[in-house]
């Protein structure tokens, strides 16, 4: 019986969903304003190949292939760099969390001391 009120509170405070139109509007806005990734690396100049000795069509295909490979490599590097950046933030945030824990413990124990 002593838990009856607490059970009733748990029932009364079960999560409720917001209105569908609000939810849709919010998700749309978040998607639209998702922060662009910061700090794009300096662009590497695209290598150009001497093509005067190749038929034009083949030359164009080769340039396209080289361009695509460079783009893919740059994208991969960018993804890796951004992932590394996130890891730094995560590590520093977690370290600070635990430093906070130490500070709180010191403060709490010194207040509790007679």
């Amino acid at each position: 019986m002593s838990d009856d009120l607490e059970n009733r509170l748990t029932q009364a405070l079960k999560p409720v969903a917001p209105r569908e139109e609000f939810s849709a509007r919010l998700l749309e806005r978040v998607a639209a304003e998702a922060r662009p990734q910061t700090a794009t690396p300096k662009s590497r100049p695209r290598r150009t190949m001497p093509t005067w000795w190749l038929p034009a069509g083949l030359a164009a295909s080769l340039l396209l292939a080289v361009g695509v490979r460079h783009h893919a490599a740059e994208s991969q590097e960018r993804l890796a760099g951004l992932a590394a950046r996130q890891q730094v933030f995560a590590a520093l945030a977690l370290t600070n969390q635990k430093l906070d824990l130490a500070v709180r413990t010191v403060q709490s124990e010194s207040r509790a001391a007679p």
Partner: protein
């Protein structure tokens, strides 16, 4: 009264300076940290971060110094050679054992490491130990072990970590500043 990280740093440096004979030049600030695959298997959340100098350099290249958060992070990681984190959260108490971190504590028993903070909370049963490795007046590394009933976190930072700059990040990264003596309640 907020704990002054500068005063802790000064105390630790003074202690280090007064015991030169015990500092072994061979000790390394980088700890040998296992992956803790066994704990990871039991954890509901795992954070395993291994950032050596090349990864730190790459991360810094992708930070924007005109952005306040990025600039603050750059200031902290400049001069670091590595950041290593192992953090596990469990859905019940006592999933990990003290023996799981024995191998790390044995490394920190080297005289080159000075335990500058040792906290134990009787209420939350959380222990936080912080060690610094110094070379004269230079910090070479930091190690932190936070043991909570449902969480274990080990952090090893290699290089000249500036604790004041690190603490200034409090309030960024979504962690609000802690006001221990809050009178608002």
């Amino acid at each position: 009264m907020k704990t002054s990280w500068r005063s802790i740093g000064v105390v630790s440096l003074l202690l280090a300076g007064s015991l030169p004979g015990l500092v072994r030049a061979a000790a390394e600030p980088r700890l040998a940290l296992p992956e803790f695959k066994d704990l990871a298997g039991k954890a509901t959340e795992s954070v395993v971060i291994t950032m050596d100098p090349s990864l730190l350099g790459m991360a810094a290249r992708f930070m924007d110094s005109s952005n306040a958060e990025d600039a603050a992070a750059i200031a902290v990681i400049k001069g670091l050679q590595g950041i290593y984190v192992r953090s596990f959260t469990f859905d019940r108490d006592d999933v990990y054992r003290p023996a799981d971190v024995d191998a790390i504590r044995r490394q920190l028993a080297d005289p080159a490491w000075k335990r500058v903070v040792e906290t134990h909370s009787k209420k939350t049963h959380a222990d936080v130990d912080i060690y610094l490795m110094t070379d004269g007046d230079k910090v070479r590394g930091l190690a932190l072990i936070a043991s909570e009933p449902r969480s274990l976190t080990i952090v090893n930072i290699v290089g000249a970590i500036d604790l004041d700059k690190l603490r200034k990040l409090e309030g960024q990264f979504g962690l609000p500043k802690i006001d221990i003596d809050s009178s608002k309640n």
